[in-house]
């Protein structure tokens, strides 16, 4: 049976075809390879599916229904669980990390707690995927999505090695993904790469190697503010949402690069130089990598900081480490991440977010950030703030993002 193709869908197909042709795509456009059991294959379902995924991730109103393009004059960030975010910036669609917590097969009428999954990431048709560090709860889906869409992965050399291994594991010997190593293998913490050309002209990119989370003894210089992963739990959470087998248990990352952690900074070219930085693990660098203190204090101005707040140090030091990143980077807006996974796997309810938010606020005060200098905290409560892009939609032209002489904006030419 033939299907009538509407003009908008035809236009969208043309748009996507041009995008595909303009990229040196690996994955679905490579030579046919043996399919591995349990590994989903194939690119985005259809242009209409891409339109739908983008409307879901970035808001109905922000996506052109005829072309599937996301408006260029906004930066739109959509939380997809843990530290994975879908981003549309200057019209470019990309992922920060690539993992979906609780991507399970749920039998109706039970409801899926995570309102997205692997196939929607593929349908989103991202151009780029950025790896914060190599652990599976950040990278399980990265190689699969990159192979099936042709997206370019960015990370350290060790991350790229891991992604190539994952591509071969999932799609057979000879399968490759596009991966650009922004830092060479073995570089020390504090190493940077600045004003990178890879995303231009749409965006400018900076990267620094920082520190993965770790437990340290209680910091006796500040009041104790530890927080348990089960604090604020509510067992009814499990009645509210269904559980089931993992949707894609075979889609796993090898963990290449492991805890090697990168902090990225994206800058939108323009008068304001709107900038957002992201890190997906929160390290206690006060004790374990103090060289990061001057490095991050000298980091170009960040308007919005998206940072992990949950890590091994929470029970002893609360969110002190996240507060230290905030102190040193001085964002205007702070957005937390990773706290959902920590609570969820220990049986705490999503609504314990209020506890965690207050712990961060206390931590900022404890380490001496004056109230007037604390950023606006836009807390994310799971699961209700999953795929809720309006909370993190920014207009780069707003005067709010004007920089000061004491903290100049990133070089972006």
């Amino acid at each position: 049976m033939s299907m009538r193709i509407t003009a908008p869908v035809r236009a969208l197909r043309r748009s996507l075809a041009v995008a595909a042709a303009s990229a040196a795509l690996a994955g679905p456009f490579s030579a046919a390879l043996a399919q591995v059991a349990g590994i989903p294959t194939g690119g985005p379902t259809s242009p209409a599916a891409t339109l739908k995924a983008r409307q879901h991730m970035f808001g109905l109103e922000n996506v052109n229904p005829a072309t599937g393009d996301v408006r260029r004059d906004r930066v739109i960030i959509s939380w997809l669980t843990t530290t994975t975010f879908a981003v549309a910036a200057n019209g470019k669609v990309f992922l920060l990390d690539g993992y979906i917590n609780d991507d399970e097969v749920i039998t109706p009428p039970a409801r899926k707690r995570t309102p997205t999954g692997l196939q929607e990431l593929v349908d989103l048709n991202p151009a780029w995927i950025f790896i914060g560090h190599g652990h599976g709860d950040h990278t399980d889906y990265v190689a699969n999505v990159a192979y099936r869409t042709g997206a370019t992965i960015f990370g350290a050399k060790e991350h790229c090695d891991g992604m190539q291994l994952d591509a071969r594991t999932q799609f057979g010997a000879g399968a490759t993904v596009k991966c650009t190593a922004l830092l060479a293998a073995g570089v020390p913490i504090g190493s940077t790469a600045m004003n990178l050309p890879d995303l231009k002209p749409a965006l400018c990119l900076n990267v620094i190697r920082h520190l993965h989370g770790a437990a340290t003894p209680p910091d006796t210089s500040i009041p104790f503010n530890g927080i348990g992963f089960r604090d604020g739990e509510d067992a009814r959470e499990f009645d509210l949402w269904g559980t089931g087998p993992a949707a894609f248990p075979a889609v796993k990352a090898s963990g290449g690069g492991g805890s090697l952690s990168l902090l990225y900074q994206f800058t939108v070219p323009g008068e304001r130089g709107f900038s957002f930085s992201v890190y997906d693990s929160v390290g206690p660098y006060k004790e374990l990598a103090p060289e990061l203190i001057p490095a991050l204090k000298a980091w170009p101005a960040t308007d919005v900081l998206i940072g992990a707040v949950s890590g091994a140090n929470n029970p002893t030091n609360g969110m002190r480490d996240a507060a230290i990143y905030i102190r040193d980077l001085q964002p205007k807006v702070f957005v937390p991440s990773h706290h959902d996974e920590s609570q969820r796997r220990r049986g705490a309810a999503g609504n314990s977010g209020e506890w965690w938010k207050r712990n961060l606020l206390t931590s900022m005060t404890n380490i001496g950030i004056p109230a007037a200098e604390q950023p606006e905290v836009r807390w994310l409560n799971d699961p209700y703030d999953y795929v809720r892009p309006s909370l993190l939609t920014f207009d780069p032209s707003s005067p709010r993002w004007a920089k000061t002489a004491t903290r100049p904006q990133a070089t972006c030419q």
Partner: protein, 414 residues
Amino acid sequence: MTRTSRNTTRALAAGGVALLVSAAMVACGGSDGDGAAPVDTPPAAPPAPSLADRIAARTHYFGAENVDAGTGEVRKDLVILSWASNTTYAAAIGGQVVLLDAALLRREESPGRTPTTLPEMVALMPSHIVLGKASPGHADLAANIAFRTGATVIGAQEHCDVVEADARRQQGWGGNARLVRCQAVFPKDQPVGAGVATLALPELDLCLRAVKHTDQAAAAADPTLPFASFDWSLYSDARDAQWWPSGIAAADGVNTTGATDGPSVAYHLTLGAGRSFGLFWNDRAGSIAQLAPVAATLMRSLPKTDVHVGSVDVANATTNGLRDAAQYIQAVQPKVFFASGHDAASQRGNAFNTGELMRRALETAVANAGVTPPPEVRINFDPTDYLRPHYMTFDPAAAGWQQPGDKASAALCN
């Protein structure tokens, strides 16, 4: 507001015939050259809030990126709604501040679970206060804010009368001069279904359409639909009281004596270039399909609605679920629906945040009502989403508001 615009209230019969009805504009002082008799001297409003307070309030309500840090002006190209609790929103429209209803749940002397206060709402310096219902929970603060800021109240004539009476009571005034400026979109005792009242507000660059409806509920279970029931007391959470301990309740006597059986008015606003963006707001939800079908017909006749902010605080949830709220959605056919009033309903049941359960009940009701396509439902959760304007910031010029198959926009305001 210009004199011309004050007198452009129109009623459109359901069949589309425009009927000019009188616009009852009563101005503070009442002696603005319109032939009114000389009046005595009314109490003076207190000094306007300082610029610093206005900037702080508007920044709190509308976001630092949307408010000029030096002047307090809100950007004109966006429509920003900030949920203040129940069905009260502060809206930034065309750079002006408009209150949709004026009441606060759990109003206290200092920001608490409801993170704002009456003085902060005054500091917003609204230009208009639009009332859907002049009763407690919706209009408690309207008279006070209007008197202190000079904001124009918009509502049915009964709403104007209530607000004026509230202002007189609060200010101890028994003279002739009116204390509150009020624009009546419907005359007193206008029956439901008489027409759509249309009002141009050029200072806001919008066209307002009003539909009188009912908030009366039919208690009997609807035999035409699968039985549905919703319990607002589900998922009560004792932690809420721990997180948000009670503060000092406001005891300033600022409230309304408006009757709960007064009229209900829903509003449709068209904004943006070519009036391309439509916003619908109803602060009450009655059984319109059964008790006021003509109101539903009038709602269906409105221009396209992109965003619908509607009450789900129905009075018959135990027997009909959220059917009544769904029937407004069915009539208005929005792209996006924001639930409203669910915090009041759940708090009455000591359940506080039941947002997720309410979402599910609403989706069931929408499906049962046969709404196709269903709107995208966006839920604001209390109290975390109070005064979080980012959830309800709309760019009327955004491409996505124009979808294939849309109803026509209304370029003219008539």
